[in-house]
Symmetry: C2
Subunit: 348 residues, 2 copies
């Protein structure tokens, strides 16, 4: 049988390991067009999990290794000792053309470092970014960088804008995605110099999106733009702050419903609607940090994800592969670098 | 009659103006110990509002001026043309000892610039910060800087830690407040150099709090620490992101309750509990950005606040005055600057 895509799965990463990685693949399988899976890790642990899902056995392969990278290991140390680990072998499978994309729930720093080392960046991209889809009032936006790069200059921010815009266009199907730069105000003179320089590039160059301008923190959930661009320090803090407020709201709501018999009855009657609401913001439905800019599809699943979350991360990887994301980016970056208004700000 | 405190109120600032500023003072009055109010602005507009609240008339005074600062004006321009504006006169009243604190809902940038210009910083403080109380799972934490300073070096971050710790101790009554530095991870090597330097100062100096370490975005609402210290760029984006997610949760909940007759009935039964929950995170109950580090109490009320929100901002100012916040900070900063471990990192 010919497959449209092969996903390499680091079965040993994350807090849970093979059971959720295999179950996740089984859950994702029905929603992905013609895929096969290569699981990297301890055969003795992967095999029994795979046996629980006979429907994906014909489409699955196990590559045994007894080495894996610990979640808490310092990335630089992890990379140094990464030979023959499940994570490294899964990434190498992409480099060697055995797989089209890799998914891991393991050590984020090590995964990013090894992706850059083994797969390299796409031509013209200085640094990859971690991107994720976020829920908004209107639907969904994509935000990057969420933590790969502490500081970003104007050139890197502009590349992120291209990465995000191409994602919104080819994966989300938005013809003219709007792009905003996250800042402390919307006026031109606001924020750091890098942001103002990126704004001046983006407002003159042609790229696959429409530059909207500066946006503020509350614009993320307002859905003001399709693509939110920021440095990795700010993006990471905004993302985690958002997660924290989401949990706080959920906790307060649970407390409210438990506070009296009448409130409990109210919950009982409205529980269907409440569950639907919770699903809209369920982190599992947004699981899958995409390493955009890497020359090869690489997706990080949350370390604590269950099978549903893992399935989402695998579908995120499959979507990037199926839509030829990397090929489209490479073409767009080349076009960007040729433009006078880009060159004049970033130098040659 | 002798008053324990006098609050200068810029009656003309904000989207609404005198009506909410006067009504806010009337609402706050019952909760503040022995206060009087000086309203600065257009007497013809303030007087009729004051007449609606006869209970505060004996404790109020109007200082007429027909000039005020527009909300949308660029701060530098606003300051240049600020002579005899309601905002400037209210700040000058604090400088001149006519009032103990000032509250304005006007142009934030102009208010900060004029506070620094007219009131100056407390001795030993390089730059003031905007601080606010935030809701957490456990209760309330204080966070600063929320936007006064884009970048902050280790010395400034350390001063913010002192400002926040003194606030938590003298206003919130926490004997040993814990202080965390907002970062992208909790390990020592994470984040920008300024953060790592601030961490090394705070882990060795004696100051009115207990240094906890680095915290991440989701720790803000977890209530991991009593005082969250960050630069103004990051703090502003975290705050606004949090506000955005709060609004999104509220919107989704409203949609859920409206989605079916059963859900509506559920809402009807649990509405008392839901309202209590909403009050816990109601932005009006957290209104009042404190300009900590300024030599004089200065509080910014949100431009769109209603009377309840304004009342909260006035109470925030009164709490700082009553508890002698500025005097306590001055003493603590002096102690900080004498310590070897502070001097060795920041230089002399």
């Amino acid at each position: 049988m010919n497959y449209r895509q092969t996903i390499a799965i680091d079965a040993m990463g994350g807090d849970i390991g093979p059971s959720v990685m295999v179950a996740g693949a089984a859950k994702a399988h029905g929603s992905i067009d013609s895929a096969r899976y290569i699981f990297f890790g301890d055969q003795a642990k992967i095999k029994p999990e795979l046996d629980k899902f006979p429907e994906i056995i014909p489409h699955s392969e196990i590559r045994h290794t007894d080495k894996h990278i610990a979640s808490e290991e310092k990335p630089s140390v992890a990379v140094r000792n990464s030979k023959d680990t499940s994570m490294r072998l899964a990434i190498e499978a992409v480099r060697d053309g055995l797989a089209d994309g890799v998914v891991s729930a393991g050590n984020t720093g090590a995964l990013m470092a090894m992706s850059k080392l083994i797969l390299k960046c796409l031509p013209g991209i200085n640094r990859p970014a971690i991107a994720s889809v976020m829920p908004t009032i209107h639907g969904k936006s994509v935000m990057l960088d969420l933590g790969a790069n502490l500081s970003c200059d104007a050139e890197v921010l502009t590349q992120f804008a291209v990465l995000g815009a191409v994602y919104a266009r080819v994966v989300q199907g938005i013809t003219k995605p709007t792009v905003g730069l996250l800042n402390v105000g919307t006026e031109d003179m606001k924020g750091h110099e890098e942001l103002r320089n990126a704004a001046s590039i983006l407002s003159t160059v042609e790229f696959p999106g429409v530059y909207y301008g500066f946006i503020e923190g509350d614009d993320i959930t307002k859905g003001t733009v399709d693509v939110i661009v920021t440095d990795g320090f700010t993006g990471n803090i905004a993302l985690k702050t958002a997660e924290g407020v989401g949990k706080l709201s959920k906790e307060y709501l649970t407390q409210a419903f438990k506070s009296s018999p009448l409130a409990m009855l109210g919950y009982f009657l409205s529980r269907g609607a409440i569950k639907k609401m919770k699903a809209k913001v369920d982190p599992r439905n947004y699981n899958g940090g995409m390493f955009l800019g890497v020359n090869g599809v690489c997706v990080k699943s949350h370390g604590g994800s269950d099978a549903d979350g893992t399935a989402n991360a695998i579908m995120v990887a499959a979507n990037l592969v199926q839509n030829g994301f990397n090929q489209r980016v490479a073409a767009q970056i080349e076009q960007l670098m040729d433009q006078e208004s880009f060159i004049s700000v970033v130098g040659v």
